[in-house]
Amino acid sequence: MTGLVVPLLLSLKVAGWATLFAAVLGTAAAFGLAHWRSRWCNFVDSVLTLPLVLPPTVMGYYLLVLFGRRGWLGVWLAHWNIELVFTWQGAVLAATVVAFPLVLKSARAAFEEVDPQLCNAARVLGSSEAAIFFRVVLPLASRGILAGVLLAFARALGEFGATLMIAGNIPGRTQTLSIAIYEAVQAGNDDLANILVLVTSVTCIVVLWLAGHFLPAYGRRGSKR
């Protein structure tokens, strides 16, 4: 039983933090891109999507090279006593990087759908651009952003290639559900694998389902139909 609970809690912790980071960073980047009217905009967008394109293991390898003891970011972080390799914080880093583009793209599409006339309305009512973002744009784009955040959560929960590389596979410390499943499949332990898959699936369904209930009420304008 503890064999299930520990990786489950670890997975939720890692996926939770990663989703939070990906949501904040992805939304901020998307807002920037949606308002930065430049030819380079789509280019930067494509570059930021790369973590999705590279095989996670390769992503993980580069993270390892960058954040390892000999990597220049790793050396820098060591000054602050932050260690990422073989720690759960490393797993959060891996999952964040991989989940980030999912929020970015969804949020950007959502931001660009917001009627600019409504921003104008807020402007003449005296709102600053920051206030407009939080009071008008963000709520109106929330449905699309939420879709991206849920995708990010699912992806973070399932992430394992990059995690395995940078955080390793240490039961009780960095062995998330995904890695445990991988190991069980590799060990030919089909029964354990099936149980773990079931736990992951149920967890994910429950979380996504709950999130579905927090959809903002004004979105229900379709109810007149």
Binding site: Y61, R69, R70, V85, F86, G168, N169, G172, A187, G188
Partner: protein
């Protein structure tokens, strides 16, 4: 106290057992294990993963670790020996009896670990070259990312035959059948060493010693490994 042991995937079952018995003998010490393909584990250690002990499935990976000064060469010891075997699904109707039978046209697909990164693949390549079958076998190959994947393909009957370690074949006696043990030009040896880093963990040496001790060797033998 904690020690972190990074080891080859084929050692998974055996080393978990070793760790448990080591903990029983040294109360208060906790052994954390992390398994992966030898070369993946190597990369993690080279990049400064906080591991204390490295156990690899072949000499090549350990040589690289030594070359990159990731492990202390003075502590390096071979601790186990294994062998490569040719296996087929238990219900195979092809009636293979020998490596040479792989020439036959009705053998369409077979599998082994990718020689570029998987020790078992490197051993397989050397053996097949020795018996002059490499050119024949290579075009029919599906490369596996490690031993266990090769085993899985055979066990599911997706391929007609495959090459794995003897210890892996022993995991699924009901699904795969060993046809032949391959002669190997160089012995299949597993080296172990203490990772070199600031403030070496005093328990690391003890763990290596335990693996080499009579008790450690007994556990490994239980999982099918031979003495080096």
């Amino acid at each position: 106290d904690e020690i972190v042991v990074s080891a080859a995937a084929s050692l998974t079952n055996a080393f978990k057992d070793v760790a448990k018995q080591f903990e029983a003998k040294h109360p208060g010490t906790k052994v954390l294990t992390s398994f992966g393909a030898s070369d993946v584990v190597l990369q993690q250690i080279v990049n400064g993963a906080p591991a204390d002990v490295f156990a690899s499935a072949d000499e090549k990976a350990m040589d690289k670790a030594v070359a990159q000064k990731a492990v202390d060469p003075a502590t390096r010891k071979d601790f186990a020996r294994n062998g490569v075997v040719l296996i087929v699904p238990t219900d195979s109707k092809l009636g293979l009896h020998d490596v040479k039978d792989l020439k036959r046209a009705d053998v369409k697909r077979l599998t082994y670990g990718n020689p570029a990164s998987v020790p078992v693949g490197r051993y397989t390549e050397a053996s097949l070259k020795q018996v002059g079958m490499w050119q024949t076998v290579q075009p029919k190959a599906v490369l596996a990312q490690n031993v266990r994947q090769a085993l899985d393909y055979v066990a599911r009957g997706e391929v007609d035959a495959g090459f794995v370690f003897g210890t892996d074949a022993a995991i699924m006696p009901d699904k795969v059948k060993v046809v032949q043990a391959l002669p190997s030009p160089k012995p299949v040896l597993y080296p172990i060493a203490v990772v070199a880093r600031k403030g070496v963990n005093p328990h690391a040496g003890e763990f290596v010693k335990f693996v080499l001790s009579a008790q450690g060797q007994e556990i490994l033998a239980h999982y099918g490994f031979k003495k080096p």
